[in-house]
Symmetry: C2
Amino acid sequence: MAVKLFIVDDHYMVIEGIHSLLQNEKNIDWMGHASNASSCLAFLQQQQPDIILMDINLPDISGIDLCKTVKEKYPAIYIIALSTFNQQSFIEKMMLNGASGYVIKNATQQELMEAINAVSVGKQFLSFDAALAIRHQDHESDVPVITRREKEVLYLIADGMTNNEIAVKLFISSATVDTHRKNLLAKFGTRNTASLVKKVMQLNLI
Amino acid sequence: MAVKLFIVDDHYMVIEGIHSLLQNEKNIDWMGHASNASSCLAFLQQQQPDIILMDINLPDISGIDLCKTVKEKYPAIYIIALSTFNQQSFIEKMMLNGASGYVIKNATQQELMEAINAVSVGKQFLSFDAALAIRHQDHESDVPVITRREKEVLYLIADGMTNNEIAVKLFISSATVDTHRKNLLAKFGTRNTASLVKKVMQLNLI
DNA sequence: TGGGCACTCCCCTAAAAAAGGGATATTTTA
DNA sequence: TAAAATATCCCTTTTTTAGGGGAGTGCCCA
C-alpha cells in the first residue's frame, strides 16, 4: 500500500527536487505541498497524509511549533524533519515535539527513501550527518537548571543592563543582582558576560 | 544556441529541483553541478559554462567570495545568485562582487527561465521577492559593516576572552583590541559586551 | 521539624570594560 | 597618486565585573 506523503517547505526548488526524486517510486502517493504552516494546517483539515516532510524554517510559524501542533491534533501522522546543516540545534527540539526522523536537505534519493520507509512502519530515522551533529551537541551543551529569578536577571543582562539598572528594575539590591550573575556564570560554566550570552543564545534560551 | 549552465549548491535536493525544472528546456545545456566552492573552481579549470547558478551558503568558502574569485578569473561567465529569504543582506554583496542577478530558492520555473534569459544576453535580473526583501532590510536590520580585524576580535570576545588574552593571541597590543572593541560597540549601537554579543548572535554573524 | 533551596543582602579586592580623548602607520581603492 | 579606510598604539577616569567570602529569611516537603 502506498504511503501518502505531504511536504511543507517554503522553497519551491526543494519541493520540486523532492518531487523529482520520488516521482518514480511506486509506493509513494504524492498528496501535494504547502509553503507555510497555516496552509499546511488548512490542508490537514481536509485530508491527512501518512507522512509529512517538514522544513524547520517556515515563514510564519517555525517547523518546531508546527510539528507539535500537528502531532497534538493528528497523532497518527508521522513527521520527518527537513533540515540544513547549520540547524542541528533545532533538530533535538523537533524530535522532542514528536518528529519521527529527519533528513538533511542534501540527502540522496536512497537516504530519503530509507527515511520514509523506516518512519512509515513506526521506526525512527536519523540521517548519519545529523546524528553526528546531535552527539556533538549532547556532551557539550547540557542546559543547566536556573531559577525563575536567575532567568529574569539573565534576560536583562543580555539586554545590556548593568547590575545597578537591573536592581532598580527588579526592586532589589545590586548586591543581589550580582549574586544572581555569579550563579549564572557558575551554572553555565562561563568566564564572563560575553561567553555567557553567547552560550545562552546558542542554547536558544533567549 | 543553448546556454551552458552550471550549478553550485550544497543541497542535493535543490540541485535536483532545478534540474527537474529545466530538464525540458531545449536551450539549456546542463553541464553539471558542484556542492562546494573548491570543486566548482576545479571544474572551471576544465570547462567554462555561460552561466553559473550559485548558492550563497556553501560549506567551504561563501558564495560571495566564490563569486568574486570566479569573476576575476573568468569574467565572461555570468553568475546568478541563489538565495534564501533570510539572506537578503548578502545579496547586495553578491551583486557588488559581480553577480548578474539573483533568484530566490522558491522561484518558479518561469522566473528562473526569465533570469537565465535576461542574464545570458548581458542584462541584470532581480527577482521581485528579493527586490522587496532588500527594501525591507534597508530600514529594519541594517547589519553594520565591520572590518576583517574587527570580526576576528568580535569572535574572540564572544568566546569570552579578555582584551589582554585577545592581544596575546593576535600579536597586538591590548590597547588596539580595546579600540576594536569600542568600534564594535559603536557600529552595532550597543552599550556593552552583553548586548553586543546578543545582537551579533541575532544577526547570525556568529 | 529540619534540611534543602531560592532569594535576599553585605563585605572585600583585583581585574576588566566603558567612555572620553588623540595619534600614526599601512593598505585599499577611487 | 591622493583620499579613505583600516590597523595600530597610548592616555585618563569612571563604572562594572569577577571571584572570594558570609549570612539571614521564607518556603516546601520528606
